[in-house]
Symmetry: C2
DNA sequence: CCGCGATTGTTGGTATACAAGCGGATTTTG
DNA sequence: CAAAATCCGCTTGTATACCAACAATCGCGG
């Protein structure tokens, strides 16, 4: 039992992912101060899907129903998302990006791409590919 | 300008990290329901450092001063951490794991290690090494 | 057509997380 | 030694994030 039980926090994948995520979040906030990563993800998906229900958007962006509600509320409050009741299913609301939402997304697209680049900047091109493909298998 | 502006959310490192983290958090919560990953990290560091101030523990676990306060409060409420005022520096409080805290950490250590293993289970041994070493460079 | 399970959106509660700002203590510096 | 800078812990406010519970609605089987 000499070395089997040493638990080194700094080598745990969860701790490393948390810290890597912190660094990425800081890069994002510096580059796009107006929108959080979550809000941007929701807006991006909405621009891609055009018309979806709230929960469906949540599933498409890996967010809980309770979480997506708050995100959509904040996007709505800023006029980036429009909400209309679904005509057939009375439980649903249909979300769509407003013209302002679409314009904002377009204007931020390039910056968003550069955020990914900056996050991965410590790695070489090949390492980036490797990292992303391994990461994709851990979702 | 045909393909330069397609922003694919699912390929962004932030989105992938968020989802990989979600999966890891779910594994953690299933395996150690009593403690959050953050609380466990703080407890682990505390067992390693024995006696630290609150903010110092926060820095050692990559937590904001406001964040570590809440974490320590909850650990204290469960009797896992003991607090004494620092004798020299009157601003500081000195944290130390209680006997119960040390015992809990010891009893969870193996499970914590298996959480890392389960999180990385989709990868082969070599891929795990690669992933961790790349991830370590992104913190 | 009736009932029952599933889905939709909502709410409340808990737990990170960070920014900003506070008063107080300590250390550095001029 | 006094002023400035720094550090300490705290609080407030905002934003994820998830769970659990809820009413309203929908769809399907009988």
């Amino acid at each position: 039992m000499d070395g089997t039980d040493d638990y080194v926090l700094d080598e745990q994948v969860g701790f490393l992912m948390r810290r890597a995520n912190q660094r990425h979040l800081a890069i994002f906030a510096r580059s796009i101060p107006d929108l959080t990563p979550t809000q941007f993800a929701a807006l991006a998906r909405l621009c891609e899907l055009e018309r979806v229900s709230q929960n469906a958007l949540g599933r498409a962006t890996a967010m809980d129903a309770a979480t997506i509600k708050g995100v959509v509320d904040r996007l709505r409050a800023r006029g980036l998302v429009e909400v209309t009741p679904d005509e057939v299913d009375q439980r649903r609301v249909v979300l769509a990006p407003s013209e302002a939402g679409r314009a904002l997304f377009r204007s931020l697209q390039a910056r968003a791409a550069s955020i990914t680049a900056e996050t991965l900047a410590p790695l070489s091109d090949g390492e980036r590919e490797t990292f992303l493909s391994l990461l994709r298998r851990l979702v």
